[in-house]
């Protein structure tokens, strides 16, 4: 998971989804010269095509005509509060800043060379009487919702990490002791906690390959450790020539997995998240499903892919639900659509439950028909498209 720079201010800003249901609404509210302001940033000038616009959705089309990398900021009247920003615009490049701007006075600034006060001017947003009116109430409510969402998500990650650590202890104990039946039962149930926060775990580039690498992902000569190494040993591999690990070797792999899980848990205690990280995390969880789980590639030996699948969806749903109050303010149509698609996917998953794990288990991936896999895949695609609009809808 990429961890983008912490955005300075998350409030009073609406980035429009590029492809939400209400294409038409956006087209009518953002079209027209009075809602698109071209900003030309030079090394010593910052020219805006207008110094006033009606309140609501505005597009600042920033073009860097200078020779230095530039930034564009829209500050509040005080020249301090950041309403919106685009960064790292290279010479010759253009980028759109899409903002929901209430009526008021603002200070736009280009920062060629990316430092200092920037080249500032004045910008007035008049009350259009529309949804983007003068009220600052929405901004206030959103600020609090954002704080709640990010706090809750960090708590969720810590909780899952804690359960992963506790479960991994039990799992490696059974495995090292040679209690294969118990280890096989624990394997998918414990991995659920990993899969729910997979993008966070993957963001630690040193730990992830030691813990979750599949055999097919190995480089020539790379040592294979972690969950899938143990998986291969626990399920009688299809490869007839496979030699089971010795008790000593088992002990080594078990210890290594537990140590890495401890390290992961220590690190996530300090993590905090921004809304765009949470939104991107939800999207990457569905990407994981689409590329690894729905194809049955993740759990090559155990075929417990559906546990991982459902856990990825759980994690994405938690991320989305935390952001839903924000989304309700900013793009309720998108919120409802994502909600509905989550429900449809979950309903489909429920059909593949097994009696294992007190009825919370799933059937083996290799018992699914091609038609059932196709249904699941279509439902994943159906959810992933609107979910890919989430970040832009809630973040800067």
């Amino acid at each position: 998971m990429r961890i983008p720079r912490l955005a300075a201010a998350l409030v009073a800003v609406v980035a429009l989804p590029a492809l939400s249901a209400c294409t038409d609404n956006r087209a009518t509210t953002t079209k027209g010269a009075d809602r698109t302001i071209t900003v030309t940033s030079n090394d010593d000038s910052c020219d805006l095509s207008a110094d006033t616009a009606p309140s609501g959705n505005l597009v600042y089309r920033v073009h860097n005509a200078g020779s230095k990398v530039t930034e564009f900021y829209l500050y509040g009247e005080d020249g301090l509060r950041i309403v919106g920003e685009v960064e790292n615009v290279g010479p010759g490049l253009s980028r759109d800043l899409v903002l929901h701007v209430p009526a008021g006075r603002y200070v736009p600034a280009c920062k060629p060379g990316m430092g200092g006060q920037g080249i500032r001017s004045r910008f007035t947003v008049t009350d259009s009487g529309g949804a983007g009116g003068a009220s600052g109430a929405v901004a206030g409510a959103t600020r609090q919702q954002v704080a709640t969402a990010t706090r809750q998500y960090a708590a969720y990650v810590r909780d899952q990490s804690g359960q992963l650590l506790a479960g991994t202890r039990r799992f490696v104990a059974a495995y090292a002791a040679g209690d294969d039946a118990r280890a096989r039962t624990l394997y998918p149930a414990v991995r659920v906690h990993w899969e729910r926060i997979e993008p966070v775990a993957e963001s630690f580039g040193d730990l992830d390959p030691k813990m979750d690498l599949r055999e097919a992902d190995l480089r020539e000569g790379q040592r294979w450790t972690g969950w899938h190494r143990v998986e291969k040993d626990l399920w009688p591999p299809r490869n007839a020539g496979y030699r089971a690990l010795t008790p000593d070797q088992r002990g080594t792999y078990a210890e290594d997995l537990l140590a890495n899980t401890r390290a992961l848990d220590r690190r996530v205690q300090k993590l905090s998240f921004t809304v765009d990280q949470i939104g991107n995390g939800a999207k990457s969880l569905l990407d994981e499903v689409a590329t690894g789980k729905v194809t049955g590639e993740e759990e090559h030996w155990s075929h417990t892919d559906l546990y991982d699948f459902a856990a990825n969806v759980d994690g994405a749903r938690v991320a989305f639900e935390g952001l839903r109050p924000v989304l309700r303010q900013k793009d309720p149509v998108l919120g409802r659509r994502i909600d509905r698609r989550f429900q449809e996917l979950q309903r489909l998953l429920e059909r593949h439950r097994s009696g294992a794990h007190g009825g919370r288990g799933f059937v083996s991936y290799d018992t699914l028909s091609r038609a059932e896999v196709r249904r699941l895949s279509d439902a994943v695609n159906a959810l992933s498209e609107p979910l890919s609009q989430l970040t832009a809808a809630v973040a800067l």
Partner: protein
């Protein structure tokens, strides 16, 4: 939710690239001016020689002079909601209107940096490539396999719209057959055609899912007298006797569904039926056949396409001419004879097929053949009887295997402000 209005203006793909590529040298005034111009209606407009109008009485891509490439796609509708289906058809319409004019999907709209771009981008900077997008509805859209009405459309199903019957020698693969919706994307540039199908598939996610698709090259038919008759992978000119746009009365008679053809499907008036067949050729054995056998099976000479009864390509075949041995020069089981209108109650079709090669099989044989596309006013009269005869008697069948099949009702053209097939849903 209101309807997305078709974009009336936007940045053409070529212009967009031009402005993006202008680089740091562009001054402030020049940049602002460039945007102003680009946002206005493209001065070339519809009717320029690299594009066809999207709106009209009939859908484009039927009598339109056949382009060089096709990407044909068939979709299964996944939603049970009629409103969702209509919403998607509106989005498809808006996207098709943009792409056929060389504009991006969602062009003219801002590009927030944290959202995936509305358009997938691989056609940026490419000319429209005479792209046409032609949409159709399959029989399964009107009723599911158990006969249940899916979208309240069952009583409007055209009577000729049903799965094609089994023809002798068919070896149809379900994964290459049928479908609820189809899109025929034709263009002179394969990248433009693929871009169109990819973007329509993306808009469909959650509402409809791609069932099968077929790439084709080297159009095997000419639909205008301005075009040379092309060759199929047998090496022969194909579709010499095809209907042409320059025969308006024949097109009216054989292609467009008339207002009184089918009382319960009046929405289809001005539309047509599309037969799609994936026909594999056993290329390797064909190539071992003598020229004598090849020409006798086809009924034409290979070099010029003239009928074996004599003359030139467009000379009418004379089936009565006999050789020294008393046998007809155009053999009784030849393709030309069996497919000729005079042997099929005078019916004709507008063929619009393409060659295909989808790699090879594990024995090193080309997976290749003809992706047959034909537009007819009534498949019960114009296609099914003829194919029944061909499948049973055509000598060429020894080298052919039909592996995919579908029939679609192709609604009439889209009016400005309307959407594809709107008459079916209102």
């Amino acid at each position: 939710m209101t309807d997305p209005a078709p974009p009336r203006s936007g940045v053409s793909r070529r212009r967009l690239l031009g402005y993006a590529g202008a680089g740091a040298a562009v001054g402030a005034a020049g940049f602002a001016g460039g945007i102003g111009t680009a946002w206005a209606t493209d001065p070339r407009g519809a009717g320029a020689d690299d594009r066809y109008a999207f709106h009209g009485r009939h859908q484009a891509g039927i009598v339109t002079p056949a382009q060089d490439r096709v990407h044909f796609a068939s979709f299964d509708v996944r939603t049970g909601s009629r409103a969702e289906l209509v919403r998607m058809l509106r989005e498809w319409t808006a996207a098709a209107a943009a792409m056929t004019q060389g504009r991006s999907v969602g062009s003219g709209q801002p590009l927030p940096y944290d959202a995936p771009p509305a358009d997938t981008g691989e056609a940026l900077g490419l000319p429209p490539g005479r792209l046409t997008l032609t949409f159709g509805f399959g029989p399964s859209l009107f009723a599911d396999p158990d006969g249940r009405d899916r979208f309240g459309l069952a009583d409007r199903r055209p009577k000729a719209l049903r799965r094609l019957p089994h023809f002798p020698g068919d070896d149809l693969q379900p994964a290459r057959s049928d479908g609820d919706l189809c899109v025929q994307a034709c263009a002179d540039d394969p990248q433009v055609a693929v871009h169109a199908v990819r973007n329509l598939s993306r808009l469909a996610f959650g509402t409809a899912a791609l069932r099968w698709s077929q790439l084709g090259f080297g159009r095997t038919s000419s639909t205008s007298t301005s075009q040379q008759t092309p060759r199929n992978l047998f090496g022969f000119k194909d579709g010499t006797a095809n209907l042409k746009a320059e025969e308006p009365e024949a097109v009216e008679e054989h292609v467009w569904v008339g207002p009184d053809d089918d009382p319960r499907a009046s929405w289809l008036a001005g539309g047509s039926y599309l037969v799609a067949r994936r026909i594999n050729m056993t290329i390797e054995t064909w190539d071992r056949a003598s020229l004598r056998e090849q020409e006798q099976l086809v009924g034409r000479d290979r070099l010029h396409g003239a009928p074996l009864s004599g003359g030139q390509e467009h000379t009418a075949p004379d089936f009565s001419v006999r050789g020294s041995d008393g046998a007809p020069l155009i053999a009784l089981d030849s393709h030309v004879r069996l497919a000729h209108p005079s042997r099929n109650d005078g019916v004709r079709m507008l063929r619009r097929g393409y060659n295909f090669t989808d790699g090879n099989d594990d024995l090193g044989r080309l997976d290749a053949g003809l992706f047959f596309l034909a537009y007819v006013r009534d498949p019960d009269r114009q296609y099914i009887p003829m194919q029944t005869r061909l499948s049973a008697h055509d000598g060429l069948m020894e080298y052919l295997e039909h592996t995919g099949s579908a029939l679609f009702a192709v609604p009439p053209g889209v009016r400005p402000g309307g959407f594809v097939g709107d008459r079916l849903f209102t």
